[in-house]
């Protein structure tokens, strides 16, 4: 997106005035829509639309063996795909850099055991565990990807139902398990601690959250904080520009409070979702 100087100045001033071009205050978010259980062949899924940013997340399961270093832990893997539907720039392998950046950030945010208890995914110590494939598909980019992705991932994990393992039998090196084929028998994951990411964007002397694409262009530097309950699980500085340590600390504080607010809103929303609601998907 190309912006002229005048537009940039206008955005800068609007932030200074705490009356952003779309009428929001600096700490405000744009409206969001969330729907879970939208990808039928997955064990959990969610679609989050944050203004023009559209993210679809699916969670699939596979049986795997834990690593030698962490025999008691299950696995979780993030894969981000930037669809060319979002912009022709993503055609072919065009979106790979962005995708890797986001998935790495997610991996490190979910690494801590307080953020996400991978021990629950372990079926039999050292030999069998669940591996969660969290696949993120970016369908439209309207700014603030990290926040949208983290919210959608958390919602999808909330929606995930792990099949019930009825029995595990060990015989030498062979492990046989019996898994219930009833979807009713599935167990949900505990994702209350799953991190929420907030992008704090410095424009002029002020920090804002949920920047639009235009605002991202005017940013002098931004930092992504991943907050699990009240702890930081990862911090990543993105985009060009530099930040003063003082500003950085300020940003972190802002990020933390916003994240906690977002988290409780998300959990409340998820709790309201009715199991039997009919799917709407992209037809709305």
């Amino acid at each position: 997106m190309a912006l002229c100087e005048a537009e940039k100045t206008f955005i800068l001033h609007s932030v200074e005035e705490n009356f952003r071009i779309d009428g929001r205050q600096r700490g405000d978010y744009r409206p969001m829509e969330l729907e879970t259980n939208i990808v039928a062949p997955s064990f959990g899924s969610a679609r989050l639309r944050l203004a023009n940013t559209d993210v679809l997340v699916s969670v699939k399961l596979e049986i795997d063996s834990p690593t030698l270093e962490q025999p008691k832990l299950g696995k979780i893997e993030f894969f981000v795909d930037c669809s060319a539907n979002a912009t022709p720039d993503f055609e072919g392998r065009g979106g790979d850099n962005l995708a890797t950046e986001i998935s790495n950030c997610l991996s490190s945010a979910y690494k801590s055991s307080t953020a996400f208890d991978a021990g629950k995914l372990c079926i039999l110590k050292g030999s069998k565990c669940w591996k969660l494939y969290v696949d993120i598909l970016l369908l439209e980019c309207g700014g603030n990807l990290y926040d949208a992705v983290s919210l959608a991932v958390k919602a999808a994990l909330w929606d995930t139902r792990i099949p019930l393992v009825k029995s595990v039998v060990v015989d030498g090196n062979k492990v046989d398990m019996e898994v219930s084929d009833e979807l009713f028998d599935c167990e949900r994951l505990d994702v209350t601690g799953a991190p929420i990411m907030v992008t704090v964007c410095k424009i002029g002397d002020q920090c804002i959250v949920d920047p639009t694409t235009a605002e991202e262009h005017c940013s002098g530097g931004s930092v992504v904080v991943a907050v699990s309950k009240s702890n930081f699980s990862t911090i990543l500085q993105t985009g060009g520009g530099s930040l003063h340590p003082m500003t950085l600390l300020e940003s972190l504080k802002l990020g933390q409070t916003v994240a906690q607010r977002l988290d409780s809103t998300l959990i409340n929303t998820l709790k309201q979702i009715n199991d039997n609601s009919t799917d709407v998907g992209f037809l709305k």
């Binding site: 039928a40 997955s42 049986i63 084929d181 009833e182």
Partner: protein, 948 residues
Amino acid sequence: MFSTRAFIKKNKVGNYLKNIREHYIRDDIFCGLESCKSCEVLDTSLTGGFNNKNNLFKFNHYIILDTNIILDQIDILEEDVFGNVIILHTVLKEVKHRSLPVYKRLMSIIENPTRHFYIFTNDHHKDTYINQEKGELINDFNDRCIRKACTWYMKHMPNEKFVLITDDRGNRNTARNEKIKTCTITDYVKNLENSKHLQDKLARKDFHTVVDSDDFYPPHLPTVDIIQGIKDGSLHQGTFRASTSNFLEASVNVDEFEEPVIVQGRAGLNRAVDGDFVAIKILSKDEWISPSDIILEDESVTEGVDEVLEKEKVLKKTQKKANAQPTGMVVGIVRRKWRQYCGILQPSNMDGLFHLFVPADRKIPKVRIETRQAEFLRTQKIIVAIDTWPRHSRYPTGHFVRALGKIGDQATENEVVLLEHDVPHSKFSEEVLSFLPKLPWTIKEGDIAARVDLRGLDICSVDPPGCTDIDDALHCREIEDDKLEVGVHIADVSHFIRPGNALDIEASNRATTVYLVNNRIDMVPVLLSSNLCSLRGGEERFAFSCVWIMDKEANILETRFHKSIIKSKKAMTYEEAQMVIDDKHQVHSIAQSLRNLNSLAKILKRGRLDKGALVLASPEVKILMDSETHDPISVEAKKLFETNSMVEEFMLLANISVAQKILKEFPECALLRRHPTPPPNNFDPLVKAGNHLGFAIKIDSGKNLAASLDEAIREDNPFLNTMLRILATRCMMQAVYFSSGMYQKDEYFHYGLAVPLYTHFTSPIRRYADIIVHRLLAVAIGADCTYPDLLDKHKSTDLCKNLNYRNRMAQYAGRASVAFNTHLFFRGKLQDEEGYVLFVKKNALQILIPKYGLECTLYISEEGKTSPFTYDEDHQTQTAGDIVLHAFDPVIVRLTLDSKNIQHEKFILQLVKPHIEGFSIAPLTEMETKHKLTEIESGKKNKKQKKS
């Protein structure tokens, strides 16, 4: 409307996937009732014209069944006693899932419009579709679906009455609360009019007599434990094979052991029935035993258990540890393979409802059935199905299915033979017959254009006397320069049987025509087999011709295949043809061509034998029947002429030529016939027998085997060579059909004929394999088009499986029929016959009587008596005084038939010659023989007189 169904499924690599399927709910599914005003009635078979009469529900009603009723009581449903039955789709699907045979039987009932059955697709109907609820078991859900459909019908048609039949008490109670009329099948059938004979046919799953009686068998392990045990290797699974001679012994073939695992005794067998797939536990090695060598028969006539316990003791005593084999005990049944069994009612003076049924197959235990017509059934051969085998019951419980006819009747026994060998023998259905050509059948212009016209050639057929399904004819004529044109013309059956229609499907299922002594079960309807396809003399017929140009040394110079029209000049028997050849005065063209064929055939045969083809022998007999009474009047070995061999040679040659052609065109899907090389240890008995006689039988190759058999001749015993060949035949493997894509090239070999490629082309009227080969060849020469299944090697492998199975069964059925008629012939007769010792055993001699093709056992040591014989195991001889009996020695024995057991008549042999004091008996004087015969004759005459 629309709904989805989701479930978790494990994939091949062990991962769990969530699958999801659509499920459409419709508003165009109709109730099927004729009287319904709101539903479109397309073609329903439910009708107001049919009334169900039942004392329990004294009004006309429609019947709804649950799944278990259909699975258990399909025999009752097949009885034409109640109609207007609504089969719910939920139920139908479950039936199909649980038992395919029952599903097929149900479908044929539904398709019969006179039965008034209707399928209601409740699971796609907008008002009867329901979702499985959380925590609801699948069975409960299905029951709920059924009740939902019932209540819908009641609401939909308030003026009609509906009855739900289910044996599930819980379901009945819930149904009553929902105001659904319901009862058990037993109650329903009992209250039918004329229900007496029907009650016998009710399956008895819920049967509990004396609950406080002690459990007679150990319990089976629960399924979960069995699966677990098999997984962790503590249990094994395999097919249970009951012993024919000892009812308390069986073996189980298990992958983990080379030898079959022995199971013995009541607890060891633990209610397994021959053919069941069972789970067994292997006993510790010090408990292993060798197979028992005593014969034990279940002689009890009541359900008492004392006799078994007694016999078990006998068995225990004889148990031997030498040569012990793995031994185990049955701990559970993985899959029952129960079918319906032929047999008779145990003659006993048991009163009341319960009787014992004795199956014809010795491997099957007696079955306890309930019947109210025991008096009548005692005279009949009957069919019985096993329902269950509770722990406390000595015998399994079953129910009477139907009676086949009077015991000992030809027709009844034929039926038994066919049923026991799973030979499809029902009449051809109307649908099948609808695909036959319409009479009068004429040859059309187009047919002539598409075929080579060979009507001018002197073609003739040579077959056994009385043959009506002539599928091959031959011709031979001289063409320029010492060259001969030889043609084999095979009936063009594939012209009449088009792929995929009902006629074709029926034929492919039957796979072969089955020949019984006095009956022929046709593979294709008689219009084709004996008329349109049969290459009768003097009639114009379609043929598939294989024509060679040969030189006088029988070298093939050129091979052609084409469809043709022929007109056989004459249909001859082997004997007639032989006479024509031998009669030097006959010089007409047919005689010439036969002579040419004959001399070519001799060259061909020589060449074949030089390559190592085996000449094998098996005693074949022919039974002559009295045309009036259909009683066998004589049994004799089949006569063979030179012409037999002549026809055979050309058929072989045609088959080989065709095999080469179709394999070239269809390397992946040619239907061929292979005869595997037998493993060397198969030949052990033959080699051993040869060694005792001083002949070295070489078995390293077919050629050496043939040569060493040729050399094994002894002047003083001309039959010895034949005996060796009979033994050699028994060492062979079964030849089988296969699809070329499924085997390696070197596995195509036909061992017996010593040819690398072989197939069946020459008898399409009586073998389905030939029809397929005809189709392949027709495609190869561009005379016909192909269809997908023909070229699919997996489909054709499935087909081969069926062909091989049916062929084997047809062979057994044929033998069983001959055996029965031989018995019939010997009833009441007393005869001295020449025989040969086939094997020498410890307590018996196996005697072959070539005249009747009989193989019987002559016991030489009886219990409690001292035998004059001493056994020499090393030389395989029995010695009594100065008489030594070797294998293959000629003897004379007296034959009588023991008919004490009417299901298993057997021959009793007594030694006449050589004479051994105190053992042999004096030969029959002519007077005695005559006396006996006249007795029979006069008996017969009396019978006839009575008739008139």
